[in-house]
Assembly symmetry: C2
Homo-oligomer: 187 residues x 2
DNA sequence: ACCTGAACACCGTTCAAGT
DNA sequence: ACCTGAACACCGTTCAAGT
């Protein structure tokens, strides 16, 4: 049994959104890629909002397991955060794509409510994970201060990805993350 | 003599892009706001790319003079960077809008070449300005290190804006910038 | 359950035509 | 120079109909 239509729709849609955003997501383009008609796509995802929400949900789920694995083989903060940054880097390398939730955050105004919920959850998952990584430190930081720093690291990496993508140049991402490190934003 | 149609088109378009992005920019919506037909908008800006480029050019020009004034009344680094951050903050406060070039960076794939050029120039203007601010420091940093830090500060602030907008919460921006400061990314 | 064909009201864009 | 009306090929979406 081959991968079913629903999964192929999700895969095609994911690639489109990471490359061109939620607004540029087209049922007709998806249909062309999958080999059915656009009305057929609607059978699996009644509205564009349903597709977007499913997309973001799946994306966040994958992030959860990926980050879980990364935390399991935690050795030290620097290497772990380097691996974390390299996840965002790899999106840029793949045809200058962006984090699905990063690009969707920019389109906040056009997102249906249930898509927004998933975008928020992605941020939460990342911030919570970064909190865990940072709590390995022994600098007696309180939980609130850790949470703010975690949010800052997440925002900084999203920003590095956004600016590097705008320039169409991965080395901008590398330089920026390097500067974050030497400035002391993270280990 | 009142403001002419061309300027009113640019003003309406600016508001739309900062709220919903380049892709969501609609000639028919602009026409409705200005009080003419969509074909009339094309008389002033032949293509959507022409309008986008003019928009980004005007936006960057305004940034140039704004940043110039900010540098003229430079007193110390911390206050100057606080004023700088507050520019990006004010966009969020105005109906959760974004930096025009930030949101356009996310749409990089869909931008015509001449729009991309302007988005790049905005980044350059900001980075160059930050370099000047940072060069007031007396820590004997070389030019390359200053430039990387300037790029990092710009990317970090864009990221803070992006994430805060995604959550629809200005306080996320404030917390993040505060964390950048305590982490030592900037004074 | 899964998909198509045809229709709806929208796009950006073009172009001939009006003033 | 400035704008309109009408047309073009596109959208997302709906829905009745086919298998």
């Amino acid at each position: 049994m081959t991968t079913d239509t629903k999964q192929r729709i999700l895969a095609a849609a994911r690639r489109m959104v990471q490359a061109r955003g939620y607004n540029a997501l087209s049922f007709r383009d998806i249909a062309k890629e999958v080999g059915i008609k656009s009305a057929g796509v609607h059978h699996h995802f009644p509205t564009k909002g349903d597709l977007g929400a499913a997309l973001a949900r799946q994306y966040t789920e994958e992030a959860v397991t990926l980050l879980h694995d990364l935390l399991e083989r935690f050795d030290n903060e620097q290497l772990t955060l380097e691996r974390y940054a390299s996840i965002f880097r790899s999106a840029l390398v793949q045809d200058n794509r962006m984090c699905l939730c990063g690009i969707m955050a920019a389109e906040h105004h056009d997102l249906p409510a249930d898509v927004r919920v998933e975008v928020d959850r992605f941020t939460e998952v990342n911030v919570d994970w970064l909190c865990k990584v940072l709590s390995f430190r022994e600098d007696g930081r309180d939980a609130e201060s850790i949470k703010r720093l975690a949010l800052a690291i997440f925002a900084a990496i999203e920003g590095a990805q956004l600016v590097a993508r705008g320039r169409g140049d991965v080395s901008v991402f590398d330089d920026t993350v390097q500067a974050y490190r030497s400035a002391g934003l993270f280990a």
